[in-house]
Every structure is written in C-alpha cells, then in structure tokens.
Subunit: 361 residues, 2 copies
DNA sequence: GTGAAAGCGCTAACAT
DNA sequence: ATGTTAGCGCTTTCAC
C-alpha cells in the first residue's frame, strides 16, 4: 500500500496546519476545525479519523490564528512590581492557578515600582491584545497607567492596591488601614508605647501610606503620639549600610522606640538584622512587627510577627473577578472592592517591652 | 469645516486597525504598514501624516496579526519551578531584562518541580508558538519534556540545569559540582570534619545530586567519610516540624556534625531556625553553609554563608544564548554549555567548630 | 453532518 | 515612494 497523503515533513510539528490534518483525514478544513472546537457537531467516526491524523502528524494548533480570528486572546496580562519580594511571588502562584483553571494564559511583566516602566509594560501587554489585566501599581491614587486604562475602557483588577471606596476601580486586597491598626494595637496591648514605623519609599506606595494611617489610628486611639515614618530608600532594604545607621541613631536616642512596625516583611527582616548588629536582642530588647505574612517569616527564628495577607488568594480572587467582568461584558457593573480577611501572627519577634527605662545603646 | 474621515468610535482604541489609520491618512494599507515597519522606505511627510492619524485614532498595532503573518512571535517561553524560591525570582529579573532589551516578550509558567506539569505547561507554551524556551527542569538527566523538545527540534536553553558534557543540550549554570566542592572545602579549611548535607527532594533534582557529588569530592580529597544526605520532603523547608525532628536526632548523636552544607539557601535558613530552636547557636556551636546566594541571605543576621550563583546573569545569558541560537537558525552549532563564575561567601554562619568533643545536646 | 468561502490585522512580494 | 494583492492558521456563517 503506497504512502497515502504525505504532506511535508512529518517529524517537525512546526508547520503542520489544520489544513494538513484535514487533508490527511480526508475531510474539509471546516470539519477538522469543528472536531476540536465543537466536537458535538461532528460524527464520531469522522472525529476519530481527524484525531488520528492529527496525532500522526503531531499537529499542534496555532493559537495565534484562532486568537486573531476570535478577536479575543484568552490571555491575561499581569503586572507586578517585582517578584523578588515573596509577596508577589506567592500572589503569582494564585494568579497562575486561577488562570489555568479557567483556560487563560498569562503574560507577566514587572514594573520595579517605576511609573515610566509601568506605562511601557502595560502598553506592551495591550499590544498583545490581552483580554484584561491584573496589576499592582506603585500608587493607585495617582497612576498615569490606571487613568489611561480607564480612559480606554480596558478591563482590569487591582491586586494589593486598595481602590478608593467611591471610585470606579475594582480591587482585591486586605483592608490595609484596619489591619495595620490591629497590628499596632497588638503592639500596644503588649505594653509598647514608643512605636516607630519603618517604611520603604513611603510616598511612592499607597499601601505604605494606608498602613501608616492605620498606625496613626491605633496610636491616637490610645492617646499616644504617632511618630513620623522612618523612610528607607528601598522596599527591600538591600543596602543595610544606610539603614543600619538610621536605626542606630534612632535607638541611641533617650526616647528610643521599644517596638517597630514595618510596612512589609522584608523590611522587618532587614531591620531585625540591623538591630542584632547593634547588639540588641529581638524581641527581648526591641519588638518588631512586619506586614505581609510571607512564608519566609515562619522560617526564621524567632518567627516574624506580622500582619498576614492571603497572598495567593489575592491573586486567585483578582483573576476570578477579572474573568467575571470579562464574561459579563457590557453590563456596567459598578466597582467591586474585595477586602480579603487578614490575620495577626503576634509571636516570635514581638514581646513586652523591657522593664528598664534607660536607653539600651 | 466638516469632520473629515470619521471612522468608528474614536475613543475606544480597541478595534482601530491599520486600515483605519491608512484611510484617515489617505494612504494605502501597505504604506501605513511601512511607516511602522520600514520607515526609511516612506517619504517623511507621508510618515508624519500616518503618525498623526494613528495618534488621533489612538491606534494600537495588533501584534497577533503581525505575528501570524511573520511566522514568528518574538515571544519566549519561560518555565521555572517556582517563583517562591528567590533564586528563580532573581533569575526572572535577568530574563525579563534581556528579553525586553532585544524586543522579545515572555510567557511564564511554573512547574512546581512536577514532571507532569512540566509537560503540560510546555505544550501550552508551544501552542502559543513561542520562538524558543528558557527553562529549568527538575531533573535534566531524565526529562520527558526535554526529550520531546529535542525530538521536535524546538530551540531551548536550560537555566540552572547543567547539561551533560558531551550531550547536545544547551545550558547556562554554574559548575554545580565544583562550586559545591569548594564550599565544602572552605568548611574543612575552617576545621570541620563531620559535615552533613541537607537536601530537598534529593532524587528529583539533578542539581542537588551534583552538589552532593561536590561534597563527596571535597570530603574524599581529605580522606573524610562522606555522610549520606539528609533529605527533606520539600525544597523550601516549609514544614519545620518534621525537619526539626530529623535535625534534633542528628545533633543528639555522639558524632553529631559540626557543620551543615545545604543544597539551597532556603533550606539553610530553615535549618538555622531549627538549630536555634534546639538551643544551638550558629555559627558558634554549628556552622551552616547554603547554596544559591539569594539576596535574602545578606539580610539575616548573621549573614548566611553560601555558594553564590549569579542568578540574574544566568537568566540574562540563557536568553541571549537562546536568541543567538534563534538568529543563527539552520547552522547546527553544537551544544553550548555556559558555566558562569560562582563565588564563595564564607562569613556569618560559618566559623571554626567548637573545641569541645562532647555532644552539644 | 459536512463543505466552500470569507475574513480576523498585518506584512511582503510584486507592480507602478 | 506608493498601491495592489495574497496569505499567515484559524473559526464560522451559510449552503447543501
């Protein structure tokens, strides 16, 4: 029996098109297509023939063609500040899982907290005709990117950024202010009165500001004087040199704080090292409370006390909410602000303040 | 003057095609296209008209059309085990930077070290017609995914996996065995003789095995007896409960190790916590050496001693090497195995062993 | 149940 | 320098 219908290279799957499969299966292109997209519309025996041919030729559908035709890509764009902060890496896990479960692909870009890069990267995603976006911007209250997205009517859901209550933006986050307030209340409950706040690039981060506001709430509620935030140049305290100096200064003062509230966990871990280098013991001499609840915090000893966000869940919910929006296209449902539950993990690096009133340094 | 050429909705950029721009600029579709792809082929005044029209209509090129036509997507697929290990998050930074610099986009998927997911995710990327892949597989010595990729002739470059010397695979990594050997030699030089190895999911990771081999090399070279590896269930030591028990057992023995070599930094950080919980001080009672050189290691106190890989560089080089391969299409250049320089950071958690010969626990 | 044909947005011959 | 046209791989009316 002579080789029937031998279309081009059989080994190289690249280049095998649905037309080739159709030809090999002796059906029309339309039928071959239906076998994959609407199997119920085609006779079972035909379908089998097509599948066999596809198998034999190692056919791999070219999604580009389908997407171009369909006018929707089933790709979601994701923009996160960085993956080097575990918060976002954990969130990515949730995003990926949710997207895959719904048959959506992802394009990821990182902005490095830079507004210019935010614009460029989003434009990039948009050119790829992503159906929608999940993103975390440095500051949602003044974001060129979000304004543009709004103007163009591109569907997006914010993750971590907590949308303004009466605005039109969708977001998934914890309640930054309330949760931070509760964290600081726990510090106060442990006996602390002089509590400092350490933050990274304060003015550039809406969350940092919201968490600071929570700190103020907690302090004021107890008649305590909030201290201005200690702003570190980086979000991830990589240059411990400068940080150490700032902290040393602070701890040398007569009214040195007995506890620190850091606006993220990485900052807290860096701070703890700085304190140790200064000869201070955590939590015996100074307490430290973080924010984020990254897994790493439970790996260090003592375990990092922190305000825990459900990071993977934030990703999962953001994707689900975006997909809901996409599928309910047209219906101008008003802004959905999802506040996921936070938790307090007050152990390890938080303890009552030392009895001595004298400065420790 | 009446509104000249008013094509569809002006505000919604979605749906504005190059044809609309061409019409508005009163040129042909081809010319409009050339303005963007080959500007030198078109008169400047014409180009300006087209740009103006594009601007006015907020035209955004649909990359899908271009890609379909071009038969290459300029998208690179990236598969990493997880982003929750900072090693890969740092690597991603290098990958993204290199890809963007060359005008390539990225699709990222994570495999969670699972072979089944590896296959599924790669298939996914292939359907998107990525031009090539940068990936880290759990075990390159027996990988269904790589076999498939080889069979289909899909261009890829391994990152972290160190390709077999006389094989046909391209890889970018450090020399795992040699670098691990040097790390352990440093431990020996510090005076340690009883050195244990802690590894995650040993048999599933080629790198863990190579690093263990390096440990054996170092031990044997000094006439010391290598101990079998302590295999932890996870790569990222999340369940400190079991780990702690194993370690306690080990440290209670009369010939307890005085130093540990961990096959990655996260494991090392978890181990240090376990040791502290056992009442042991690091490095005074026990020394710990990690492997990876993640930024986090420098944030803890004492700073983690470790074998440093240039993580971002690994990503950058992998991308560049892949692009070189893609551009040199056809020429069957033989396998390029890039070994990037590693470094030793032997401070902080490594010190000479304690003088006492009696068990510490 | 199946086939023929149009078209998604773009680029690149090929003409002029 | 610019226009005409074909076609990338796929899905989907619309006929039959």
């Amino acid at each position: 029996m002579p080789d029937p219908a031998s279309p081009r290279a059989a080994a190289d799957s690249h280049g095998v098109t649905l037309a080739d499969v159709a030809e090999a299966a002796r059906v029309s292109l339309a039928t071959a297509s239906r076998v994959f997209s609407h199997p119920q519309l085609v006779r079972e025996s035909t379908a089998r023939r097509v599948h066999e041919a596809a198998e034999r030729l190692s056919f791999r559908p070219n999604l580009l063609g389908a997407k171009l035709r369909a006018q929707q890509t089933r790709i979601l764009g994701v923009m996160l500040p960085t993956l080097e902060n575990a918060v976002f890496a954990e969130c990515w896990r949730g995003i990926e899982q949710a997207a895959m479960a719904e048959g959506y692909s992802l394009m990821l870009v990182t902005s490095g907290y830079e507004a210019a890069r935010e614009r460029e990267r989003v434009e990039y995603l948009l050119r790829h005709r992503v159906d929608g976006l999940v993103l975390t911007v440095a500051d949602a209250t003044r974001s060129a990117v979000l304004d543009q997205l709004d103007a163009e009517g591109v569907p997006y859901v914010l993750a971590y950024n907590q949308a303004a209550e009466h605005g039109s933006r969708h977001s998934v986050s914890v309640d930054n202010r309330t949760s931070a307030c509760e964290g600081v209340q726990a510090l106060i409950a442990a006996g602390h009165r002089r509590i400092a706040v350490v933050s990274g690039a304060f003015m550039a981060s809406d969350r940092a500001r919201q968490r600071y506001a929570g700190y103020e709430d907690a302090m004021r509620a107890r008649g305590l004087q909030p201290a201005p935030p200690v702003n570190l140049p980086s979000h991830i305290a990589s240059n411990a040199i400068h940080t150490g100096a700032r902290i040393g200064e602070l701890m040398g003062a007569p009214d040195a704080p007995t506890a620190f509230f850091c606006t993220n966990d990485l900052l807290a871990i860096g701070l703890i090292s700085d304190l140790k280098r200064l000869g201070l013991r955590v939590p015996r001499d100074v307490s430290v409370l973080g924010y984020d609840g990254i897994a790493l915090g439970t790996l260090v000893e003592p375990p990092l006390a922190t305000v825990v966000q459900p990071n993977a869940d934030i990703g999962t919910h953001a994707v689900r909410q975006l997909l809901t929006r996409l599928h309910a296209a047209g219906e101008r449902a008003h802004a959905t602000i999802t506040l996921l539950p936070h938790a307090l993990r007050v152990t390890g690096t938080v303890a009552p303040p030392p009895k001595t009133a004298t400065p420790l340094l």
